[in-house]
Amino acid sequence: MDLRENLKAKNAALSQKDNPQSIIQVKVTMATCGIASGSRPVYEYMKEELSKRNIPARVSQVGCMGFCYAEPTIEITMPGKGPLMFGFVNTKKADEIIERFIRKSEAIEGVIPMNYETA
């Protein structure tokens, strides 16, 4: 159908511009639960530090991922890889994630197992 093709094409273009596959995706949980546990400073930190350290990434805010017990949570998708979720993230942990996980691909602690599929 025309309209839908239209919508889709328009968006393919839009999302291509914002999140090409080659870029690191960082999603910070910013629902009431996440913000209450301090996700806003983590979001700001990731945004600023990644650009300061010249690591091209798209940092976005998302809704509740369901892991309230481990807030703030952030999800990182390296190009060509599956997403990984980290829990109990503060700015110190965020620094470790940038330096060790993102830069050096080291395995670090704090990964939350994800056990769901999405429709």
Partner: protein, 486 residues
């Protein structure tokens, strides 16, 4: 490992809720486009009916049937209402959906408007949800700009717009007739059904009321087909249910599981088990309107019908886990206290009856109860259920009935032995100094707020039970574990 399947939560934690592009990139508004350009309202209703989707706000009424009833009533104006009141203590499923994926609800409401013949939608949301409100507003203005809301949607000539209405956070205002009166500027009191809102609702016009989560399922059903949706779940409960896990569980949070998942899978596999490795005692579903599930229900598949059979109900999806440290009589009292606060007072069984239930429970937790009181609780509960005007009163005795049914021995202990095994009911416990362990350091005596502890330095101390107010300060301070609860 038990599976979670995210349908209602498909975009929560995945997309930026403040960017319509993100939503559209994940097939957002595709269902609306399909509906408006390819399907008749009847055909859409048929899809929803066949999918088996039932209301997620508590009652479990078949959604497609409600849409059809609203469609068939003749009227010059009809309304679509999204119930985002979410008053159940401990529940936050709807808030999470609105904060994480507001467009899904807008899209579904618009589809509902097309099906029922309504051109106006209203979202009734509690003012305590400021972030959800803000994101809804952002989403609404984005979809208006994109031509997905307002006049001539997607160039099809269909008009539909949505407004937000605020609630003040009263539990009873989640009941659909009370909700409608509250939106009309009247007192938030329920009225007798029928007429049902689908026939005579907001401003006396036909009004289709659905819950946030019910709506959130709709676009996926249209996109993936009713066959796919109805392949998930049990015979009479299709799809998934979002639960807010709270209480003594390790992984407090939101989960979405297929209908028919067992309590054991939810608590132990997904929820990570009970905090501190303690023993599971009960789980409350349906909040103050529901009942408790116990060890014998651990392997019962959770769906609408099984929960009713177990003396509880699905409710909106709060799931509060209790362990050996929770006293079931005190839990019943907690919920009744909530009901007494939240009853609108319009009808006497609920206004007076629940107060009496609360007083009886209070008497029992204070150690003054008799066996007749337990019978009175039972009889009065039945009367309240049978004679109350709205769902609040009709279900408020459920926590009492289900704790009596499942934990009669705890009621007996409170009444006959004057004991609370979970050490929750303060009137039934005594703080005692164990003389063999006490070295007479005087620390407890110095910390007791009511000077109930006496004793010479280096001599065993003694607590005066008449004076003691059971604050527990002494036990916390004693470095020698010399103070115990009896």
């Amino acid at each position: 490992m038990a599976r979670q399947i995210r349908i209602a939560l498909r975009n929560c934690g995945v997309i930026d809720p403040e960017r319509i592009e993100d939503y559209i990139a994940r097939d957002g508004y595709m269902a609306l486009a399909k509906v408006l350009t390819e399907l008749s309202p009847e055909a859409v209703i048929e899809i929803i009916k066949k999918s088996g989707l039932r209301g997620r706000g508590g009652g479990g009424f078949p959604a497609g049937m409600k849409w059809e009833i609203t469609r068939k009533v003749q009227a010059d104006q009809k309304y679509v209402v999204c119930n985002a009141d979410e008053g159940d203590p401990g529940a936050f499923m709807d808030r999470s959906i609105l904060e994480g994926d507001p467009h899904a609800v807008l899209e579904a409401m618009t589809i509902n408007g097309y099906c029922t013949g309504a051109s106006k939608g209203l979202i009734y949301i509690r003012a305590e949800y400021p972030l959800a409100v803000e994101r809804l507003k952002t989403a609404m203005s984005q979809s208006r700009e994109t031509g997905l809301l307002g006049n001539d949607i997607l160039g099809t000539g269909f008009n539909f717009d949505i407004d937000i209405r605020y609630g003040a956070g009263a539990f009873v205002c989640g009941e659909e007739t009370a909700l409608i009166h509250s939106m009309e500027g009247l007192r938030g009191e329920p009225t007798v059904k029928p007429p049902f809102p689908s026939v005579e609702g907001y401003l006396k016009k036909p009004t289709n009321v659905n819950n946030v989560e019910t709506f959130a399922n709709v676009p996926v059903i249209i996109n993936k087909g009713w066959e796919w949706f109805s392949s998930i779940g049990t015979e009479r409960s299709k799809g998934t249910k979002v639960f807010a896990l709270a209480g003594k569980i390790n992984n407090v949070g939101l989960v979405e599981v297929p209908m028919g998942t067992t309590l054991r899978e939810v608590i132990y596999e997904i929820g990570g088990g009970i905090q501190g490795g303690k023993e599971f005692k009960a789980a409350q579903t349906g909040g103050p309107s529901g009942g408790c599930l116990t060890k014998k229900h651990l392997d019962t598949p959770i769906d609408y019908d099984n929960l009713i059979a177990a003396g509880s109900m699905m409710g909106s999806g709060g799931l509060i886990v209790m362990d050996e440290d929770d006293c079931m009589v005190a839990i019943a009292k907690f919920y009744l206290g909530f009901t007494v606060e939240e009853s609108c007072g319009k009808c006497s069984p609920c206004r007076i009856g629940n107060k009496r239930l609360f007083e009886l429970l209070e008497k029992i937790t204070q150690g003054n109860g008799t066996m007749e009181d337990i019978d009175k609780l039972r009889n009065l509960s039945t009367v309240i259920k049978d004679t109350s005007l709205c769902g609040l009163g009709q279900s408020s005795p459920n926590p009492v009935l289900s704790t009596i049914e499942n934990f009669m021995e705890e009621y007996h202990e409170h009444v006959k032995d004057k004991k609370c095994r979970s050490k929750v009911c303060k009137s039934l416990m005594q703080y005692l100094v164990v003389p063999e362990k006490c070295i007479g350091c005087t620390l407890c005596a110095r910390n007791c707020p009511v000077n109930a502890i006496s004793g010479e330095r280096k001599q065993a101390h003694l607590i005066d039970q008449e004076k003691c107010i059971k604050c527990g300060a002494c036990m916390e301070k004693c470095k020698f574990n010399a103070i115990i609860i009896n």
